[in-house]
């Protein structure tokens, strides 16, 4: 009965539904897209290993004026070696230098990040050669001219039919032999982890940077790994003490280094992304409210238009409850159909966005359930007042109206 009234007013019903479709569609798609982005960010950070601490050369002071983080390299390779020897909980310690540099093969050239690292790097960063090999202790000690390239650099420099291993490339004019190609790691935020070249730390320090520290081979940062994530707090404490001792720092506020934890970064990012998603979804929720108001409006009009119909129904024995449920059913049907279309649309938009922007396609059942419950309750709430008005109509007054 309720359906017939809706069907005979197809255009009006579908326009009314549109409000709910847009509302539910945006709630579903934004929730799902938010979750997808959150998931991909988490995966990226997790792929670096959340069991890693990163020590960065920190704000060095020159005459009481802070020079900003990384302005002067206060960390050295010797610091890393000291940590490896003295911090009992640290299982893997790897120092690195990094610099943006021009890399050339034949006619091709590309600007990429060159890392000077040590042998612990693959373990510390959880990245290993796909083909060929990483450099050896021997090559590190003698500062040999060998390089391991990552997939993006291979794509940029080498034609598909050329195996880079055994070829020579130039980094800032210096010749290096390619000995390996790293596995693909994907990008992490703005940083493409596959756009990199790895060479021995000693070669980098001596020939590309030019050693500038009085205290030894200066480095940009040190990765430290423990047995597991639970060890990180302990390691952090041990590392802080070792470095303060070595750098002659008495109070923590004078630290010329900074220790960050991937898990902390992950937590912060997740919180921020979660907040953002909630905010956007709340905005989408407003359109759902507007949709509900649309339903209420149309139902009110419909009650006035159908006053006579209501009178006839009452004369034929319809109780107030019968009329109430008829109009409530109409508004719930509008919003549930609208909600279902909205869910499908929302999932569709999510799928398109996920494919286009390359984050995982996640549609949480909770979002769909919430969408369905929301649309039903929007219909219920929006329909209550019009349906009550209809039910309370006096049968003779209703019958007399035109």
């Amino acid at each position: 009965m309720a359906l017939e009234a809706l069907w005979s007013n197809k255009l009006r019903s579908s326009l009314t539904m549109l409000g709910v479709i847009i509302g539910i569609g945006s709630v579903i798609s934004l929730t799902s897209i938010g979750q997808g982005i959150q998931k991909s960010t988490e995966d990226n950070i997790r792929s670096l290993g959340t069991d890693v601490l990163q020590v960065m050369a920190g704000a060095a002071e020159s005459g009481g004026i802070s020079q900003g983080q990384g302005s002067v390299s206060t960390l050295t390779w010797e610091d890393a070696q000291a940590i490896a020897e003295q911090a009992p909980s640290a299982t893997t310690v790897s120092a690195y230098l990094q610099r943006q540099a021009q890399v050339v093969y034949g006619e091709e050239n590309t600007s990429t990040t060159v890392y000077g690292t040590d042998l612990a790097h693959p373990d510390a960063r959880n990245t290993f050669p796909e083909s060929g090999r990483f450099f050896t202790q021997e090559e590190l000690t003698v500062a040999d001219s060998v390089a391991v390239i990552a997939p993006t650099v291979q794509d940029n420099l080498f034609p598909p039919n050329v195996d880079p291993i055994g070829e020579t490339i130039r980094i800032q004019g210096e010749i290096y032999n390619v000995i390996g190609v790293m596995e693909e790691k994907g990008s992490q935020g703005p940083q493409d982890r596959d756009d990199a070249v790895y060479i021995p730390l000693t070669s980098m320090s001596a020939r590309i940077i030019g050693n500038n520290s009085l205290m030894g081979v200066s480095v940009n940062g040190i990765y430290i790994k423990g047995e597991n994530e639970d060890q990180l707090e302990t390691i952090k404490f041990q590392v802080e003490n070792i470095l303060r001792l070595r750098h002659g720092i008495a109070t923590p506020s004078d630290d010329d280094f900074q220790i960050t934890n991937q898990a902390d970064i992950l937590e912060t990012l997740t919180t921020i992304l979660g907040l953002l998603t909630t905010m956007i979804v709340a905005i989408a929720g407003i359109s759902l409210i507007v949709g509900g108001i649309g339903i209420a409006n149309i139902m009110l009009v419909s009650v006035v238009e159908r006053t006579r119909e209501i009178g006839i129904r009452k004369a034929l024995g319809a109780t107030e409850r019968d009329i109430l449920s008829q109009f409530l059913t109409e508004s719930i049907v509008i919003s549930v159909i609208g909600g279902s279309i909205g869910i499908v649309t929302g999932v569709g938009i999510t799928l398109i966005a996920a494919t286009a922007f390359g984050f995982p396609f996640i549609v949480s059942t909770s979002a769909v359930v919430v969408g369905f419950v929301l649309s039903t309750s929007v219909g219920l709430v929006a329909g209550v007042i019009p349906a009550r008005n209809a039910a309370k109509l006096d049968p003779i007054v209703a019958l007399r109206s035109d």
């Binding site: 006839i312 129904r313 004369a315 034929l316 024995g317 319809a318 109780t319 107030e320 019958l399």
Partner: protein
Amino acid sequence: MITLENITKTYQLGDMEVPILRGIDLQIDASEYVSIMGASGSGKSTLMNIMGCLDQPTAGRYYLDDRELTTLNKDELAYIRNQQIGFGFQQCNLLPRATALENVILPMVYAGIPKSERRTRAEAALTHVGLSDRMANRPSQLSGGQQQRVAIARALVNQPAILLADEPTGALDTHTSQEVMNLFHELNEQAITVIVITHETEVAAQTKRRIRIQDGQIVDASS
């Protein structure tokens, strides 16, 4: 069957009280064929609305089958309208978007009759009024006489004891009016109490008992 005791109805128009019915006493027995006549404004429609449980009197008592109705709540009145009274109106009051069959099914929906039974009964009722070939038509596709017959089929489908018709022939030509009156006569033969409200003497002349109402009072209830 119907007993009205000192029924009054007063409408409030601003500060003024407008009396429509002033002390109606009336007894109608089962299977009577009655017409209620009066000029417009005499209160005959209000009387019909009260007898049909669509309206409630300001004072007085209304007994239907010895049951006092003035004390009933809205749901109970809706039940009586559904089960015991069939309505005919001048404008038929069919649902314009529903077919003849759907219109006739409607009272059975509110009576809670099982779906399978509704259709058979509605088809029988429409066949009874001679519209077996018009069941799928909407009111706009039917003539005035056909619409009135659909309304009568709808009024009778729950097998009420009373048929209340308010100016049923008011919008019809003489020929179709006569068809409707013949139908009423036939129904009365089947022991249904038929009460026709009219201002046409020719219509009233065909009923077995004529009640005349003037200024909210019965002036002649016998003939």
